[in-house]
């Protein structure tokens, strides 16, 4: 022990403190300013504040709260009508809260914060009896709102969050490599990557609400996370009989509202679905798909479905699980509709469609291929022979801009060209191509043409132009990005005026004018064009990809009118039934081209048909 001697007098040196300033403060009169501000530090974890406009009601705060102090309460708004949010907000029970701020660190929208307020008083009668005080403990439960938000403390923005903001890495082919072939270029998740991606999901369920088919997305992601792929696929088949297809080409509205997308990249819901289906293998998937049928006994009713696209297949699957006999009429040689004959193989290889269709065929769905309703079999006879008819013909035809020289032999309609490519037919490919259109079909044809060009000429020279300005293009962002990666030049915001010909009568290029706006105040299609601002895109081939149309020649005028036909589409009730008895409509011809909507429609139609049968 090296400390000094004992001495009676040394301790008295402390008495000098009498003449020093005290280090404590008289609290209510003055406050600490050790942190550069009066009061607690700027990171203080005090009471909560919540920005209700930013909050999406995902409930993750409640999930991570270690003391179960946070409960979600309903805001009384109709939940289903909200987009990208749940109609619930957190309440904090300050009798339980331990002020750990995990809720703040785990908040995906960043709306929940903590403040520098730490004193909570409540009004109460002075002489309230003890029992009353005990039962008043729920007064400590507060709904954090704008209260105290002017005194911010612990916040969480960016990388400090508990959430995993970046998508798990997934192998893609490089643009150089993939543009040379029609092989699927997204390679899918490995198991580790999928587990990591599945762990990013916070299971808020906003995606389920947004999905047209209301798929149980958190549940099947949970299945993947728990490494229980069978459960995962079973959940998928409850609402979507085409998971293998949707896992590749779904328009994933779910991902655009994903809670994680507020701060980072949304969970790759589509790729996770694809992973689950691919990892489990087609045999197992078909087994799970057909297992649903065992719950129902055959009803003896028969349904005819016109068109083997997503809506038709979806309806066929669910009708078949409900025990009804199903016959599908398809004019093409194989089932799949636009998915098979419109979408290029690099996005959706044939095996995926075959696997999903195979599950249905095994359940006893009768597929009549190369049978065109109207020519091979009449619509009236279907109505007569079957208990119900579902029209799900989709949009197999293209639409033209009808500008000058649109009928030149070197022009083409995207959907028909894609169709031909898929059928393996040779199509003309020029060295310089101009494409009109900004949707996913335009991207598909641009990228398909790019691949053909690459094979034929060794380089890509495609200009894509559309009415919509940058950021308004209807195509998926990733499609646009990948197209640019593959060498396609995209010039949005231009309205095509005319296809100009050179002296030989060959196409010289496309003349365009600046498009100022596409929709008017009423959200109607009403482009406004600045005729003075012109540009010219050179090219010897022009492809139009501005929309699709259907072929209703098998229906009589009376039928069309009765079924609510209007400008190429049908207006139907919630049950998908048309004006004609026993005739139902589903798919693109109701909601426009969208695979997941079509699947949802098919399911709805199946349920209405089942209800119809049960009624009588």
């Amino acid at each position: 022990m090296s400390l000094g001697e004992r001495s009676f007098f040394v301790p008295f040196s402390t008495l000098a403190n009498l003449f020093k300033k005290p280090e404590t403060i008289a609290y209510p009169k003055e406050d600490l300013d050790v942190h550069g501000v009066k009061g607690p530090s700027l990171k203080y974890r005090g009471m909560h504040a919540n920005d209700h406009d930013v909050c999406i009601g995902c409930g993750n705060c409640s999930t991570v709260c270690p003391t179960a102090a946070i409960n979600m309460i309903s805001t009384g708004v109709n939940d289903a009508e909200l987009t990208g949010a749940n109609a619930q907000r957190p309440t904090v029970d300050y009798g339980r809260c331990c002020f750990c701020a995990f809720c703040v660190d785990a908040c995906p929208s960043g709306s929940l914060t903590m403040t520098r307020e730490y004193i909570f008083t409540r009004a109460s009668e002075k002489e309230s009896p003890l029992e009353e005080l005990i039962w008043k403990c729920d007064e400590f439960t507060l709904e954090p709102g704008s209260r105290w938000s002017e005194n911010p403390g612990w916040q969480c923005h960016g990388e400090e969050t508990w959430l995993d903001l970046e998508r798990s890495h997934m192998e893609h082919m490089t643009p150089e490599k993939r543009v040379g072939s029609f092989i699927e270029f997204v390679l899918g998740f490995t198991k580790e990557e999928a587990l990591r991606e599945a762990a990013r999901c916070i299971e808020c369920g906003i995606c389920t609400k947004t999905c047209p088919a209301n798929m149980g997305i958190p549940e099947y992601i949970r299945g993947i996370y728990d490494n229980d792929l069978e459960e995962s696929v079973r959940v998928m088949y409850e609402t979507n009989p085409l998971p293998g297809i949707c896992g590749r080409i779904c328009t994933h509205k779910c991902e655009s509202v994903c809670a994680i997308s507020h701060k980072g990249e949304p969970v790759a819901i589509r790729w996770l679905k694809r992973y689950a289906i691919d990892a489990l293998g087609p045999d197992k998937v078909a087994e799970i798909a057909s297992s649903a049928k065992e719950m129902f006994s055959p009803s003896g009713k028969k349904v005819a479905i016109i068109g083997a696209g997503p809506a038709g297949l979806s309806a066929a699957y669910y009708l078949s699980t409900m025990g009804h006999g199903v016959t599908v009429f398809e004019r093409m040689p194989k089932a799949g509709g636009t998915m098979r004959y419109g979408i290029p193989a690099y996005r959706l290889p044939d095996e995926s469609i075959d696997n999903d269709v195979r599950a249905m065929a095994e359940m006893g769905v009768d597929f009549r291929m190369k049978t065109r309703v109207g020519t091979d079999v009449s619509f009236e006879s279907l109505r007569k022979d079957y208990d119900a008819v579902l029209v799900a013909v989709g949009f197999p035809m293209g639409r033209s801009t009808r500008i000058e020289n649109h009928d030149h032999p070197d022009t083409g309609l995207a959907i028909l060209l894609l169709n031909q490519i898929r059928l393996g037919e040779e199509i003309p490919v020029h060295e310089n191509i101009v494409i009109i259109g900004g949707g996913n079909v335009a991207m598909d044809i641009a990228r398909s043409m790019a691949r053909l060009q690459k094979v034929k000429y060794g380089k890509v020279s495609i200009i894509l132009t559309c009415l919509e300005g940058e950021g308004e293009m209807p195509a998926d962002n990733e499609e646009i990005e990948e197209s640019i990666e593959e060498g396609i030049i995209i010039n949005p915001g231009w309205a095509p005026k005319a296809i100009e010909l050179d002296d030989d009568g060959k196409i010289k290029g496309l003349k365009c004018a600046r498009c100022l706006r596409v929709f008017d105040e009423n959200r109607r299609f009403n482009p406004k064009i600045d005729e003075d601002d012109l540009t010219f895109y050179p090219g010897t081939q022009v492809v139009e990809a501005i929309g699709q149309a259907s072929d209703y020649t098998f229906l009589s005028e009376d039928d069309l009118a009765a079924m609510g036909h209007e400008r190429g589409r049908f207006k139907v009730s919630d049950g998908m039934d048309s004006g004609l008895k026993g005739v139902f409509i589903a798919g693109d011809i109701v909601h426009g081209p969208d695979v997941i909507h079509a699947v949802a429609d098919g399911h709805k139609a199946a349920r209405s048909i089942d209800t119809l049968f049960n009624q009588g």
Binding site: L15, N17, K20, P22, E23, T24, A26
Partner: protein, 299 residues
């Protein structure tokens, strides 16, 4: 107004006056201790607030003996206060220091009776420590008093005051320096400040006698301490510091004595009880004895 009424008024005045002075000292003492510990400390009138608050609370009594003991302690100490000349004011005209010493112990005995009746072992240990410690400090104290008795052949505090009235030079502190040191050490134990705060000793016996005192009893406990401070500081001022000619000088001197005590209290830890008594006997006792021998032989 007859003489009895006047005496009654005086007695009541001294009772409340001594409490007020004691409480004021306690408040100032808390402020001083706080400053030594570099704290703001409570306001100087905090002790008054504490006592008033205590008297508004409901209190728990264990039995009649407890009530009686506590009242007896307060009564004994207030009776002592009557004998302490405050400046040149004295109720009884003469006040023997022997009576003061005798009455002072009634305070502790009453306390002992009261809190022992509560049956809490902590309180019992505390009060038994206080009584044990009394043996430690009374003996040196009495030795010094004996020295004074030898010199003046009188036990009257007023006699001592008259003898010290010729300026600072005539104070007993110079005449009985060893005795003063002995009494200072004993005084530290008398008021129960460190290193002799065995009676309270929170970390050891949970505040000892105070542990069973609630509400009004705790208020009386505060008052006991206040009167005790008044009596003991007043006694030392009268014995050694020349008494006083005016009330404010008296107050200042009394507080100076208390301040010294507080300073030691603030920087010292607490002895074990046997260490404490030994220490008192060895140091205070030997100084007192030396003073007694010196006075007897050369004084």
């Amino acid at each position: 107004m007859n003489a009895y009424a006047l005496l009654g008024i005086k007695l009541i005045g001294v009772s409340f006056g001594s409490m007020a002075v004691g409480l004021l000292f306690m408040g100032l003492g808390r402020k001083v201790t706080a400053r030594i510990q570099r704290r703001m400390g409570p306001p100087f009138y905090q002790s008054f607030i504490d006592v008033i608050k205590c008297f508004t609370k409901t209190s728990i009594t264990h039995n009649f003996v407890m009530d009686l003991g506590i009242i007896m302690a307060l009564g004994g100490l207030i009776a002592t206060a009557f004998f302490i000349p405050f400046a040149n004011f004295s109720i009884l005209g003469s006040s023997s220091v022997v009576i003061v010493l005798y009455l002072m112990s009634i305070g502790y005995l009453g306390m002992a009776m009261g809190v022992s009746a509560s049956g809490n072992p902590n309180a019992t240990i505390g009060i038994s420590r206080a009584l044990a410690l009394m043996m430690g400090y009374e003996i040196p104290f009495v030795m010094v008093i004996m020295a004074m008795l030898i010199t003046y052949n009188s036990s009257d505090l007023l006699t001592y005051a008259v003898a010290q009235s010729n300026g600072i030079g005539s104070w007993h502190i110079w005449k009985y320096p060893l005795g003063f040191i002995a009494v200072e050490i004993a005084f530290q134990a008398m008021v129960g400040e460190a290193p002799y705060d065995h009676m309270i000793a929170p970390a050891e016996i949970a505040s000892g006698p105070m542990v069973e005192l609630s509400g009004k009893y705790l208020g009386i406990g505060f008052l006991l301490h206040a009167v005790q401070l008044y009596v003991e500081t007043g006694l030392i001022v009268n014995l050694f510091l020349g008494g006083a000619s005016s009330w404010y000088v008296m107050l200042v001197k009394m507080f100076a004595v208390y301040f010294t005590t507080l300073s030691i209290n603030a920087v010292m830890a607490r002895y074990r009880i046997e260490q404490g008594i030994r220490h008192l006997w060895i140091w205070a006792g030997s100084f007192g004895l030396l003073q007694l021998i010196y006075t007897r032989i050369w004084g």
